[in-house]
Symmetry: C3
Subunit: 294 residues, 3 copies
């Protein structure tokens, strides 16, 4: 594994290997590259949460992180992403984590740079390390993926997480369902097929995976107020009580408390929300180890 | 000591202990946490000076500092400070230094997060590490606080430093006076009582502690020009010559040369202004050690 | 050597010593300061490329880099550069790399601060480490400077690089020529003397040193389109074929592909463009070693 662009790059076997490595990091194992190693985190879209998680993963592996301010970079002078990467490569950077607003930004880079690249999220496309941390979280609880029922609640069309997760979970043997405002699934034959009402979903799902309502991307939530969305499609306290025994709640954060999920549930016994953040560091450490150790 | 929010959290004994530790750092002693430790400096108000001082203190203690850009953080997406801290805590951050424009921002956090927190300045409230560095500077010169006369010159109502210092100095046995434009003390019965004219203050004060004129916060200096302020309330070269023998000049910086203090006095023999900055690193190292070593 | 402000500060012997040190770093030699050392990179003009190169050089030498955001610094509150540096010095910073929009900003600092300073580029003045990396690149190829013919192509009046390079190359025994739109050399008697047409330059030059067309600084390229500039003054693929055998192409980056140079030549056999970036790290390591090791 030279780069990680998309979950599609990973075989089921490779996914399980990375999760295994991540679990060993979660248990306190250490690993560091043999020589002084330099990383940059190129975030062309702001994302403090993911950037901080990568930074922490890199530091825990003893990697030196070179700060790079995309807001003042030569890219503003018209330099292409490829030339920026070649510059960083020439300067001695070994690894770049890239978040970019353009879907599949990495396609134009394949074979053009020597540096190792991890996709930190592209447009409405992929976000593979988020998928891996979600998988790690599920594996920690259930020890397997086969026959698990996972319902993703929210707007799939704007979610990198949902795309990556659906592919990986299906490949690993889980069954994936969708919930949320039915309008969001209209014209999407494939997903509409697995659409379930939230009240149905909570009865049979092992995992309720909530997505963030993207105020930034949606002009409106179809004229619903936050309270109305919560009541009709959100995980209310009342619905929580009817969830399948042993089931868990996931959310990639940041949470809109009282919208996707009742305020009181964010830190409840079933919630894995903060565990997911912790696992993000281990999953990213594992990905970086697999890439550098190759 | 789990956190440092306010000087009010510290007993006189704890203050003296921290100063003792700070003096040992000033003499070149070292200390480092037993395990790899991560800090973030969350500055929601810009302050390069304080931020850089904390960063240096952390680095000298061998702590890894994770960069955190508040300008692009999830807080912009409506995330609460508490959720941001819980995220950082989940990711593995041990210590957060927070500067925030809201007075007593920390009150809502008490008992809600596990992470250690140091207040790096809140609104017009507290700035405890600035107080500690000021105390350290005085202690280095006089070896004690009892019976010292300290005059703070400037606008108390907009100064975190003055508030924290007054409380601590009084508790330690010093006597605190105030000077500056009388209008700034009107309606403030307690401070008005200890008001002295600058020409009187310089005769009896062991410490003249100048505050920065906050152009950013004041709409005007009551129609005074910088020259007029300097002449009536500032530490002019002429006043410097009439200061009590053995007395010292302090200023938290950045200095408005020629306003609070004559340009030529900033680096004079009596000035402790750059010493204060140096001491800031030692005071912050001491606070962090006390918090982490607990 | 206490500081590096300008190539004029360096004797020919000192330049050769620094290049020698840089070559040893290029070969993998290591050096680190005896004690924990702190640097800041103060970039008042954005330049990701140069800043990243300095950051990498510092990290490779085991120097701790304290982040400093010029955009939110006390300089915005009216603090002078000298006071900012004295603050950083008091806090414990050993070395400052400064890029500043003001020509010869360093003149006012001489003898005023103890901290070591490296000029990372001033206004339209000097950019000594860029010169040194260019010299290093030439020395790697030709092993000497005597009798080499170097043609600088572009707008000298707006280029720090060209100024520094001309002085140093001449002192080292090379002969420097200029090319580009003749209008750019009008009224500049000294440079006009060595003006050559690009078609002539490529026949006799050992080094074709292209400058970036500074869209940011020029209001227009004298009504030339990018294609017209390339055709008349740029290094086209056709001109490349007529270059003197053994000659090399240099460009400080970022490249305007298809303007100064044909897209296909940027990574050609003759191009040293990415080598220059790599050499930038070694040249900066060498400068910092010479300054700290004094």
């Amino acid at each position: 594994m030279n780069n990680l662009f998309s979950m599609k790059d990973l075989s089921t076997e490779e996914i399980l290997e990375i999760l295994h490595t991540a679990e060993s990091f979660a248990k306190g194992e250490n690993w560091a590259p043999a020589k002084q190693t330099f990383a940059v985190n190129l975030f062309f879209e702001p994302s403090t949460r993911t950037k901080t998680s990568f930074e922490m993963a890199e530091r825990k592996l003893g990697i030196e992180v070179i700060p790079f301010e995309t807001g003042t970079s030569s890219i503003l002078k018209g330099e292409t992403l490829e030339d920026t990467l070649k510059t960083l490569e020439s300067i001695g950077v070994d690894l770049a984590v890239i978040r970019h607003e353009q879907d599949a930004f990495y396609e134009s880079l394949a074979g053009r740079v020597q540096m190792k690249i991890v996709n930190g999220g592209d447009g409405c496309g992929q976000h593979p390390t988020q998928s891996l941390l979600d998988l790690l979280t599920i594996k920690q609880d259930f020890g397997k993926f086969e026959d698990l029922k996972v319902t993703i609640v929210g707007d799939l069309s704007h979610s990198r997480v949902a795309r990556s997760n659906t592919e990986a979970l299906t490949a690993l043997g889980a069954e994936v369902f969708y919930s949320g405002p039915p309008e969001w699934f209209e014209g999407d034959a494939e997903n509409a097929q697995n659409y379930v009402d939230i009240d149905e979903a909570i009865r049979f799902s092992d995992v309720i995976m909530l997505l963030r309502i993207q105020h930034e991307r949606h002009d409106s939530m179809m004229d619903l107020t936050a309270e109305q969305y919560h009541e009709r499609y959100g995980l209310t306290q009342e619905r929580d009580e009817r969830m399948k025994p042993g089931s868990i709640i996931m959310h990639p954060g940041p949470v809109n408390r009282g919208v996707e999920i009742a305020d009181s549930l964010v830190e409840s016994r079933k919630s894995r929300i903060f565990r997911q953040m912790e696992n993000g560091v281990y999953a990213r450490m594992a990905v970086i180890k697999h890439i550098l150790d190759k």
